[in-house]
Symmetry: C2
Subunit: 171 residues, 2 copies
DNA sequence: ATAGTTTAAGCAGTATACTACGTTTTGCAA
DNA sequence: TTGCAAAACGTAGTATACTGCTTAAACTAT
């Protein structure tokens, strides 16, 4: 099954040399990043298939795990998603009893989000699985390559932060 | 507006040193990749806001642009999405008259996808905008850094290809 | 030849990730 | 103080990206 067709991977790679910049998919940084993002989602899902949790869901819970409380927008931006996506994730986590949504006494527009005891336990259970997914993702790299990758990714994110439709830490 | 709050970006970064591997969002490669993916989507959307097209849509059309025909699964895997997501994208591109879906004469289960003249024109119009989005994304990097980033991303994608839920070129 | 497997698609359901628009509350300034 | 801008949230709509189930056609092996 795995050998049935010629590898499109190899095919795309070989063509890449003789073409103009960005002409082939394989030469588009955006394409490479999207593929790696999908791979990470796959690895994470595989590690956490018993708990049925996603990277963004775990990201939110791990932000709240220390017991801090915050409104939906602050929570959303702190994990790098927009307000509406964040509210969606929060809704699902609330349904599973992993966090609470309460009206703020100070600002009656806001909803204050806090983790539940079940949420704390959940984070502790899932944390090693998350770490395994991260480790598998970067397992093919040497220490030096990993350090370089992280440095370059951080540089790109910092420089382009405003370009994202969910900029981190500015609204 | 941009200065209103303390930068969560900077905050997260500073905390990162004194914590265990992967403990903080900022130290999770998967998180960095997701953020950069979002940034690319934002840059692409900004460049192509007149044409209302996404990277995956453009990817499909640019694969077809030379006039080749293929079934939905082959097309989907060649741009790195699964069969169902691909069919969804194809449906929308067909609705806009940029490609055609015809039943195969040889295999009556299959739908043969081919680009239309409007599709070809569309690709030519959008290609420079796609290239600008790619260029902006990696603009903060030196030539050497870009080369290293691409090398590492390709290495990770090749090594982890099967881990993706839409592996490229194997089915 | 036919029975069983595989393959290409379709359909339903779910999660992330947005835009656009509307509502209520807050806060500032004339 | 009132009047208006901004903020927090909600709702609706759209696109990507899957899983799981089903149907119909094609293939394979006996």
């Amino acid at each position: 099954m795995k050998e049935k067709k010629e590898s499109a991977l190899q095919e795309t790679k070989n063509k890449s040399l003789k073409n103009r910049k960005f002409r082939e998919l394989w030469n588009r940084p955006g394409y490479l990043i999207r593929r790696l993002h999908q791979i990470h989602l796959g690895l994470f899902a595989e590690e956490c298939r018993d708990e049925d949790v996603t990277p963004v869901q775990f990201g939110m819970l791990s932000v709240l795990a220390s017991g801090v409380e915050m409104d939906q927008l602050t929570l959303s931006t702190s994990v790098g998603v927009d307000r509406v996506s964040g509210a969606d994730v929060i809704k699902r986590l609330e349904r599973r009893g992993l966090l609470q949504r309460n009206r703020s006494e100070i600002d009656r527009r806001a909803r204050v989000i806090s983790i539940t005891p079940q949420g704390v336990e959940f984070v502790e259970n899932v944390r090693p699985k998350m770490a395994r997914a991260q480790a598998k993702l970067v397992a093919p790299l040497t220490e030096a390559e990993l350090a370089e990758l992280e440095r370059i990714l951080k540089k790109l994110i910092e420089a382009n932060n405003d370009a994202s439709r969910a900029p981190l830490g500015v609204n």
